[in-house]
């Protein structure tokens, strides 16, 4: 386990706050889905907050990420505003995508979030393209692609990894191996347990990290970012983690055992980190409680913001398809 002492307390507290924000966002979103504010699919990343936060903490504001169907955490970690996120989930005009994208397509180009994605592995080539642009323009930026253990078996991952390895692009392949793709366990999706093994076939390093240890994730991503900025090319980071909730909200979860879930809940990335903050960094529980309370207030506000934001006019459905729609003649 990495030591917390090497890191400024401020930063550690920021990690904590972000992880709690993500957790709280997911729980609130799930609740609001039941309550009817959120109409669409939700894929919560509860249990995986450390990967999002650790990885994005290693990036600069100018760096970009591509995300997945389970992307709320990535966006929050990259600076996303829970208000605009919740409003998007509610399909409101004030949402990140004006209500047209929903959870699966959250994007904020200003924050360098090129988009969540409804297609497993669909966003990975995009990250490679961003990395290519950065390399061509001699910009010291990197692109980080988040994806799951299931995505590693899609052709798009493979082609993208090969291209990035070949051209030594500043791209980080960040795999959140949470042991399942929907209801199918990872071991029934690939014949290997350590997916980072595949990196060797693309000519770049593959490393494994405890995905529930936010500092470890941060440190290992920093290394990869440095490599990428130096022009040494991609790194495949495999973060071993676990999704604590269903694949989607409403998932009956018939495919896994209570023991397994309990095992992983005992390794919860937030509770564990909180404990370490208290023990290793001697943070007062009250200080952390205060953070929790602030986050709750933030999320209260986000929900209120979403509720009170206007719904789009139905005709807005016809806008935003093209930069130039030739006066509507393109429809």
């Amino acid at each position: 386990m990495t030591s917390l002492k090497h890191h400024p307390l401020d930063q550690l507290l920021a990690f904590y706050r972000l992880m709690v924000t993500i957790r709280e966002f997911e729980l609130r979103a799930a609740g609001e889905r039941k309550a009817g504010l959120v109409p669409g699919f939700l894929h919560a990343c509860v249990g995986q907050e450390a990967t999002a936060v650790g990885a994005c903490a290693a990036l600069n504001a100018e760096d970009v990420i591509t995300s997945t169907h389970r992307g709320h955490g990535h966006l929050i970690a990259k600076g996303g505003d829970p208000r605009f996120m919740m409003a998007e989930l509610a399909g409101k005009t004030s949402g990140y995508c004006g209500g047209k994208g929903g959870s699966l397509h959250l994007a904020d180009f200003d924050l360098g979030v090129l988009g969540a994605n409804g297609i497993v592995a669909g966003g990975i080539p995009m990250a490679v393209g961003a990395g290519l642009a950065f390399q061509m323009r001699r910009e010291p930026r990197v692109a980080l692609a988040f994806f799951g253990d299931g995505a590693v078996n899609e052709g798009a991952f493979h082609e993208a990894a090969n291209l990035a390895g070949l051209w030594k692009l500043p791209v980080i392949f960040f795999c959140e191996n949470n042991l399942y793709g929907e209801g199918t366990p990872q071991h029934k999706q690939a014949p290997i347990r350590d997916l980072s093994l595949r990196a060797a076939g693309y000519g770049f390093p593959g490393v494994i990290v405890d995905g529930n240890d936010v500092v470890a994730v941060y440190e290992i991503t920093l290394d990869a970012v440095e490599r990428a900025r130096k022009g040494d090319g991609p790194t495949f980071i495999e973060a071993k983690t676990y999704r604590q909730r269903g694949h989607y909200e409403g998932d009956p979860m018939i495919y896994r055992t209570e023991e397994e879930m309990a095992y992983w809940r005992a390794r919860d990335p937030i509770l564990g980190f909180r404990k370490r903050l208290e023990e290793e960094m001697e943070v007062e529980p009250a200080a952390l409680d205060a953070v929790d309370a602030e986050v709750k207030a933030l999320l209260d506000e986000a929900v209120q913001f979403a509720i009170h934001s206007p719904a789009p006019r139905p005709e807005a459905a016809l806008e935003g398809v093209y930069a130039d729609d030739h006066g509507g003649r393109v429809f």
Binding site: G40, G91, G99, K100, L104, G118, T184, A317
Partner: protein
């Protein structure tokens, strides 16, 4: 004997019956086994047929479809499930270049008894990558057959025909139909491809409705009946082959045609049907051919926007009334 079952159950039953009947039939796809299919369509099949014949696969659509083809070429009758039609894009080469053309390119020698089940249509607030209806792309790919049932009975009868046939079939299942119940025969029941069903008879206009929106067409017809407009509703059931004779016969009778589907309007299945009518039935037409279909924009997430984009019963009523009122 008829009884009420859901569309999903009808598909389940068709698969189960064919798997019992023929050991070469098997099912593979993402989460079709333990999970029973994300829409519950394959529930119980794993228990009855075991892991070998009900195969959970990795998320590798190209490999799955290609493996289905390979297995078919050496004598199996695979059923491959594509969870959302949007994902058939990642298997597009296998469907278009391999599956569809294997027979022709080999000079008519290959036998490709492969059924690809594809869940299409908008399930509601699922946004642009989980709501598509790409049937028309495949109508443009010779070598495939395309079934698109709208009732439990048709789902059962057409799927059994698909599985037993020696040609590759894309079998489109609209997600909003899965939970709809309807009567369907028990046991052996096969519906031949290329025979449209007249869902409702009428005199004043023909609605040709495809897949999911057949129900909207029927409720539109109901509303129109209250306004004394008598509408015939025809469901082609298979797009390839298409029962053009039935469509022409109806249009000949009514003189007016509205085509309804959930695919985007531009270059959707309705384009082909309209073009065929404009070629073969123009003399019978007393008014333009109208299409009621998804607007030419990606499917938005917000349900109000989505409703605005998708075809509704009101849109159909309006289109029919436009034709009724039309004067040359």
């Amino acid at each position: 004997m008829k009884r009420e079952i859901t569309f999903a159950q009808a598909i389940n039953e068709a698969m189960a019956e064919e798997m019992r009947r023929d050991p070469s039939v098997f099912l593979m796809g993402e989460d079709v086994g333990v999970f029973g299919g994300v829409f519950g369509v394959s529930e119980g099949l794993l228990a009855e047929f075991g892991e070998e014949r009900v195969r959970d696969t990795p998320i590798s659509e190209a490999a799955i479809v290609g493996a289905g083809l390979g297995a078919a070429l050496v004598g199996m009758r695979p059923i491959v499930e594509i969870m959302f039609a949007d994902f058939v894009t990642v298997a597009m080469d296998q469907v278009v270049n391999q599956v569809a053309k294997a027979r022709y390119m080999s000079g008519g020698k290959a036998r490709v008894p492969l059924t690809i089940r594809i869940a299409n249509g908008a399930p509601g607030a699922a946004a642009a990558q989980h709501s598509q209806s790409p049937e028309a792309w495949f109508m443009n790919v010779p070598g495939l057959k395309i079934a698109i049932p709208s009732t439990p009975a048709d789902a059962k009868g057409l799927l059994k025909t698909a599985i037993r046939g020696d040609d590759p079939v894309l079998f489109f299942e609209h997600k909003m139909l899965y939970s709809r119940a309807g009567s369907a025969p028990e046991g052996e029941y096969l519906i031949p491809f290329g025979r449209a069903a007249v869902r409702r008879e009428g005199e004043d206009a023909t609605i040709i409705a495809i897949g999911g929106p057949v129900n909207a067409a029927l409720s539109a017809a109901e509303q129109l009946a209250r306004q004394s407009v008598s509408v015939e509703v025809i469901d082609p059931r298979t797009l390839v082959p298409l029962d053009l004779d039935a469509l022409i016969a109806s249009v000949r009778k009514t003189g007016r045609a509205v085509i309804v589907h959930e695919a985007h309007r531009r270059a959707g299945p309705g384009a082909e049907i309209a073009a065929l009518l404009a070629e073969k039935a123009i003399d019978y037409l007393e008014a333009p051919i109208l299409r009621v279909a998804a607007a030419n924009v990606p499917i938005p997430y917000n349900p109000d926007l989505e409703r605005f984009v998708l075809p509704t019963a009101e849109d159909i009523v309006e289109a029919v009334m436009k034709l009724i009122r039309y004067e040359i």
